[in-house]
C-alpha cells in the first residue's frame, strides 16, 4: 500500500468520523457500553477467582505421625513428603505448637491449664499442594507412607471438590458470558455502523463505477471502525479503573461482614483488561465495518 493511499484512508476515516459525529459518538458509546459490561464482569470474575485461589491455599492436608517414629524418622518423612509431586511446602507441627494453636482458637485458654501438647496431640505435618485438583494424587502418595510412620491423614476432600467445581464453573460461565456479550456487541455495532454506511451507499456505488477496488472502498470504513472500537474500548477501561479503585476502598466500609475479603490488586486486573478491551473494541469495529459495507460492494 502506497503512503499517499494510506494517508487518503486516514483522512477519509477522520473526515467521515467528524462529518457523521453524532453517529460516531453513538457507535463509540454503543461499543463502550457493551465492553463496560464485559469489563465489570471480568473484574467480578477475576476477584471471585482470586478469592477461590486464597481459599484453595488455605485448604491443607494434615499428616499425623505415630508416636513411635524417631526424630530421624520424622526428618526422613519430611524429605519424602517434599519429594511427592505437586507438594509445594511441608511444615512440621510439634504437639506443643498444635496445642497453642488450639488454645488460641478456643477463646478461653484457662480451660487448658495443666495440660501439655504431648499429653493429647500427635506430631504432624501441614502439607501445602500446588493445585487443589492434585489433592487426590498427593493423598494416595501420603497413604503409601503408612509403613514409615504415617498414622492418619486429615483432609477435606468435599470442600476441595466443591471449590474445584465452583472454580471450573466460574471459568466456563465467564468465557460463555464474554462470548455472548461479544456477539451482542458485534450485532449492535454492525447495525449502528450500517446506518452510517447506508447514508453513504450512493458514494460507495459511485466509487464502484469509477473503478475503485473493494478494499479501496472498505479501508476508510475499516479505519473508522478501528478508531470507533479503540475509543469504545478505552472509555470503559478507564471508567472501570476508577470504579474499581473506588469499589475496593468503599465495599469493606459499606459491608463490614466481608471486610476480611482481599481484592485482587488493580494493576493485576488492568494489565490484562486494558489490552483486552482495546483489542475487543477494534475487533468489533473492524467486523462491524466489513459486514456493513459488504452488501453495497456487489455492484
Amino acid at each position: 500500500m502506497k503512503f499517499r493511499t494510506l494517508s487518503y484512508y486516514l483522512r477519509e476515516a477522520a473526515r467521515n468520523l467528524i462529518k457523521n459525529r453524532l453517529m460516531s459518538v453513538a457507535s463509540i458509546l454503543t461499543v463502550a457500553s457493551c465492553i463496560l459490561i464485559v469489563s465489570v464482569f471480568y473484574c467480578l470474575a477475576a476477584n471471585v477467582d482470586f478469592f477461590l485461589g486464597q481459599l484453595e491455599e488455605s485448604i491443607q492436608v494434615s499428616v499425623f505421625l505415630r508416636d513411635d517414629v524417631s526424630v530421624e524418622g520424622v526428618q526422613e518423612l519430611n524429605s519424602r513428603i517434599h519429594a511427592i509431586p505437586h507438594v509445594v511446602n511441608v511444615v512440621y507441627v510439634s504437639p506443643d505448637e498444635a496445642f497453642e494453636d488450639i488454645k488460641a482458637g478456643m477463646g478461653n485458654p484457662a480451660l487448658f491449664d495443666g495440660l501439655s501438647g504431648k499429653d493429647v496431640l500427635p506430631r504432624s505435618f501441614d502439607v501445602e499442594i500446588d493445585d487443589i485438583r492434585n489433592q487426590p494424587d498427593v493423598i494416595n502418595a501420603l497413604e503409601s507412607l503408612s509403613a514409615d510412620g504415617v498414622e492418619n491423614i486429615r483432609h477435606s476432600q468435599e470442600l476441595a471438590d466443591g471449590v474445584r467445581v465452583f472454580s471450573d464453573l466460574l471459568r466456563v460461565v465467564c468465557v460463555v458470558l464474554i462470548i455472548i456479550l461479544g456477539v451482542i456487541s458485534i450485532v449492535i455495532i454492525i447495525n449502528t455502523i450500517r446506518i452510517t454506511v447506508n447514508a453513504r451507499k450512493t458514494e460507495i456505488n459511485i466509487m464502484k463505477y469509477v473503478g475503485a477496488t473493494d478494499w479501496f472502498i472498505r479501508w476508510p470504513f475499516v479505519v473508522e471502525g478501528v478508531l470507533i472500537g479503540f475509543l469504545g474500548g478505552l472509555i470503559p477501561s478507564v471508567a472501570c479503573w476508577f470504579l474499581y479503585g473506588y469499589a475496593v476502598g468503599a465495599i469493606p466500609e459499606l459491608i463490614p461482614l466481608i471486610s476480611f475479603v482481599k481484592f485482587r490488586p488493580g494493576y493485576d486486573i488492568f494489565m490484562y483488561l486494558l489490552p483486552f478491551d482495546l483489542l475487543l473494541g477494534m475487533f468489533i469495529g473492524i467486523i462491524g465495518s466489513v459486514f456493513s459495507v459488504r452488501k453495497h460492494l456487489k455492484v
Binding site: 487518503y8 450512493t202 463505477y209
Partner: protein, 228 residues
C-alpha cells in the same frame, strides 16, 4: 473497441433485455443508441459496464471478454471506461475539484499528477471557476460537466453516457453534446444511450436503434426514427 456477438440477456423474471444482439463499434467512433423505454438501451449500457452479465453470447470491450472477467478484475476494467449518468452521481460532500480528483486517487495517481491534470480537465469542460464549489451549488449542466470531467480525467479509451441530457434544458443539453463531440475528436470512443430526438437528428452520427432487445436499424449519420 466493442464487439457484441449474438448477446442475449434474460432477467430473473424471464424478461429479455436484449435478444441475440450483435454490434461492432470501432475505436474512435461516436454512436447513439436510441429506443423507447424497454427497448434494451439500459440493458446494453449495464452489460457494457459489467453491472450485469449476458446470459448468452459474448461481449468484448477493448479486447477483454466480459463473460470471462473475474470479480476482482472488474475495477481495473471499469478504469478503462468513462461513465456519465442522467443523475450525474457526484459525491455531495466533495468539491468539483475533489470529485474529479477522486477518480485519479482511485488509480493511485500522485498529488502532483492530480494537481496538474484536474485543472486542465476542468478547463476543458469550462468549470475552472467552479473548482471549489460543491455539487449542490451548481446548475444541472455544471453538475453534468463535472461528471464528464470525472469520466475523462484518466483518459479512458471508451466513454459511455446513459441519458446524459435527460435532466437538462435543451440549451445545456446541446452544450454537453458538444463537449462529448470534443472528447470524441480527441480519439475517445463515445457511446450515448438517449431519448433526445432533436440532438440525435442534429448531430448526424451513427445511430443504432433498438426495439424489444433487437437492432431495428444501424445507420451512419442517421437520425431518430419515429417508428421506434
Amino acid at each position: 473497441m466493442i464487439d457484441i456477438i449474438d448477446a442475449t440477456k434474460v432477467y430473473d423474471n424471464g424478461v429479455k433485455g436484449i435478444n441475440g444482439l450483435s454490434l461492432f463499434i470501432e475505436q474512435g467512433e461516436f454512436v447513439f443508441i436510441v429506443g423507447s423505454s424497454g427497448s434494451g438501451k439500459s440493458t446494453l449500457v449495464r452489460l457494457l459496464l459489467r453491472e450485469i452479465e449476458a446470459t448468452e453470447g459474448s461481449i468484448i470491450v477493448d479486447g477483454q471478454d466480459l463473460s470471462a472477467l473475474k470479480r476482482r478484475d472488474m475495477p481495473y476494467y471499469r478504469r478503462k471506461l468513462g461513465v456519465v449518468f442522467q443523475d450525474f452521481r457526484l459525491l455531495r460532500n466533495k468539491t468539483v475539484f475533489e470529485n474529479v480528483a477522486f477518480a485519479m486517487q482511485i488509480v493511485e495517481a500522485t498529488h502532483r499528477e492530480i494537481r496538474r491534470t484536474v485543472p486542465q480537465v476542468l478547463n476543458l469542460v469550462g468549470l475552472s471557476r467552479k473548482a471549489r464549489s460543491y455539487p449542490d451549488q451548481l446548475s444541472g449542466g455544471e453538475q453534468q460537466r463535472t461528471a464528464l470531467a470525472r469520466a475523462i480525467v484518466n483518459s479512458p479509451p471508451l466513454l459511455i453516457a446513459d441519458e446524459p441530457t435527460g435532466n437538462l434544458d435543451p440549451g445545456t443539453a446541446w452544450e454537453i453534446m458538444t463537449l462529448l463531440e470534443d472528447i470524441n475528436d480527441r480519439g475517445t470512443t463515445v457511446v450515448v444511450a438517449t431519448h433526445a430526438k432533436e440532438i440525435v437528428d442534429n448531430m448526424q452520427k451513427r445511430v443504432v436503434a433498438l426495439r424489444n432487445g433487437v437492432i431495428m436499424s444501424d445507420e451512419e449519420m442517421g437520425g431518430y426514427n419515429d417508428e421506434i
